[in-house]
């Protein structure tokens, strides 16, 4: 692992009395791309706000570039920037929006040229757009202007919170391309929150998932998300359709199983103490360009599990989207976090 840009150790964040983030440890190497996914309310946006130093964690410290840093520190203000799903454009022209960050740093050399470059990076023509007012832009154009306003700062870390969730296909493609170009051009570290698993799998060096404010390694562990129920003297997760998962006695807030412990079968089998045998349907298969594996998304009634399968596994089982399979795993292999 190269030089670390971020180091988080025992970082917790609370809104009132409610703990929304609880991270034991998270290291993010400089120049890497970290893909972050998880259900709504899992703590992804809170984590990004902390990493952007837009607020301080309730407990713990965030080390940036080998120094513990806090919001408003001049060392992070010029180096970390966050783009949200619905960014706020200032009530002024495109040009003034893009140069805002530079102006407050009093960095005003070659502004026209730099704005032209930043706009070009997101597919906007300088002469056509620089004089336009904020309210004369479509949603996709506004998002691209917001992206340009961040790229012009050449940040060390660019945090993207669902940046393409509410824009058209062309804008999404341009924003994706511009963010990757930032990494390739000046070694910008990218931390991307997205539900677009194809994009995350294509570009991420590391993938993590979040649930209940905790992080999990996406390609190693799967979360069996709450709610859980006490039934038949133990804890279960009800899947509907008369199926449920038996869990080990509850000792944490989220049940997790190592992906290695999950076996895929075409029919239920009576063997090796696999007390959990539940029906799942393949809904998506994506080629992982870095490993050559097939990231297979399976739906179990009300939640999804992603499994990284070898090509042999896929072809032996004849897996394809729409096919129903049986997922087999032991309750004793389920851990609690």
């Amino acid at each position: 692992m190269g030089k670390l840009l971020y180091e988080l150790n025992r970082v917790c964040h609370l809104y009132g009395d409610k703990k929304v983030l609880d991270i034991d440890t998270l290291d993010i190497p400089a120049g890497s791309i970290l893909g972050l996914s998880g259900p709504n309310g899992s703590g992804k946006s809170t984590l990004l706000k902390l990493l952007a130093f837009a607020m301080a964690p309730s407990q713990g410290k965030i080390i940036f570039n080998n120094r513990p840093e806090a919001p408003m520190s001049p060392r992070v203000r010029s180096r970390v920037t966050l783009l949200t799903q619905k960014p706020y454009l200032l009530k002024r022209s495109v040009f003034d929006n893009v140069i805002y960050g530079l102006k407050i740093r009093k960095d005003t050399k070659n502004l026209k040229q730099r704005v032209a470059q930043a706009l070009a990076a997101v597919g906007l023509d300088f002469s056509e757009f620089y004089g336009r007012s904020w309210h004369e832009l479509s949603g996709g154009e506004a998002q691209r202007v917001a992206m340009a306003a961040r790229l012009i700062l050449r940040p060390k870390a660019l945090l993207l919170d669902e940046p393409v969730a509410s824009v058209d296909t062309e804008s999404a493609s341009l924003i994706r391309r511009a963010s990757l170009a930032a990494r390739d051009s000046w070694g910008c570290t990218l931390i991307i929150v997205s539900h677009d698993l194809i994009w995350l799998n294509q570009c991420s060096d590391t993938r993590i998932s979040m649930a209940k404010g905790r992080i999990f390694s996406t390609l190693e562990e799967s979360i069996l998300p709450p709610p859980y129920e006490k039934r038949q003297g133990g804890t279960i997760k009800d899947l509907g359709n008369n199926e449920y998962i038996s869990l080990s006695p509850q000792t944490g807030s989220a049940a997790v199983i190592s992906q290695k412990q999950i076996k895929i079968s075409l029919s239920k089998e009576e063997k090796d103490g696999y007390d959990n045998q539940v029906t799942a349907q393949v809904i998506q298969m994506i080629l992982e360009q870095k490993t050559g594996n097939i990231l297979t998304t399976l739906s179990m009634d009300n939640f999804l599990i992603n499994l990284s399968l070898t090509r042999e596994q896929v072809s032996t089982q004849g897996l394809r989207p729409g096919k129903k399979v049986i997922l087999m795993f032991r309750s004793q292999d389920i851990a609690w976090r």
């Binding site: 408003m72 203000r77 920037t81 949200t84 200032l90 960050g101 407050i104 740093r105 306003a149 961040r150």
Partner: protein, 228 residues
């Protein structure tokens, strides 16, 4: 209703002829209201920003007090200011009673809570994403405050116009603190009250037209600025 029509015609005549007492009242009104607005904006804007932006102890109570002061009766303000600046009051030595400065002082007390309360509401309703955007673009505390104020400039302008409307049309303070002295502290509203009492409807209507014209001019300016 005939007297209204003839009063209107005479009003036009008075204005065109440049009647000294009419224009003296207009001048006194503009002087007192301009000074009171300037002072209440200088103090009201930062106070409103602080009240809307920061969290502090007793914030809710302060907010309730400021909101209550929005309904401050002008005669109560007049009475209070009169007590303070009369020869027996703590500010008696400054000889502000029956002066335009005294009126401006009372009108400032009237306008200050309006500017403060409306500014606080505007700041409270600022888009949550604005601050996050500013922080993520590297803004410091000073930049955040100034940019937030600039982003809500039209709302603040509306606050100023609302306060100006209240100041421009009040009678109680001008009458009690100014004393309605002709060619000195007689404002448009006190003049209208006096002329109407005397049965001089034409003069009253003339002054009423001027008052409406000033309010109209201020609103036209506001809509022009909004377009920009």
């Amino acid at each position: 209703m005939e007297f209204l029509a003839s009063g209107f015609l005479k009003a036009i005549e008075l204005l065109i002829r440049g009647d000294a007492s009419t224009w003296s009242a207009v001048s006194a009104t503009l002087q007192a209201s301009t000074w009171s607005m300037l002072i209440s904006l200088v103090f009201g804007l930062p106070c409103g920003f602080a009240l809307g932006y920061f969290d502090f102890r007793f914030k809710r109570q302060v907010r309730t007090l400021v909101d209550t002061l929005l309904a401050l009766p002008t005669v109560c303000v007049g009475l209070l200011v009169y007590a303070f600046i009369s020869s027996r009051g703590p500010l008696g030595e400054f000889e502000l009673l029956f002066t335009l400065s005294g009126i401006a002082m009372g009108q400032t007390i009237l306008a200050f809570p309006i500017v403060t309360a409306i500014t606080a509401s505007i700041i409270e309703n600022i888009d949550e994403d604005l601050k996050l955007t500013l922080v993520s673009l590297g803004a410091g505390k000073r930049n955040i405050i100034l940019t937030c104020l600039w982003e809500v400039r039209f709302g603040i302008l509306a606050a100023a116009v609302t306060a100006y409307g209240r100041v421009l049309t009040e009678v109680g303070i001008s009458m009690m603190v100014g004393g309605n002295i002709k060619y000195h502290t007689r404002t448009i509203t006190t003049a209208i009250a006096l002329e109407t009492n005397k049965g001089m409807f034409a003069d009253g209507i003339a002054l009423g037209i001027v008052l409406m014209a000033i309010a109209f001019g201020v609103n036209i300016s506001l809509s022009f600025l909004r377009k920009r």
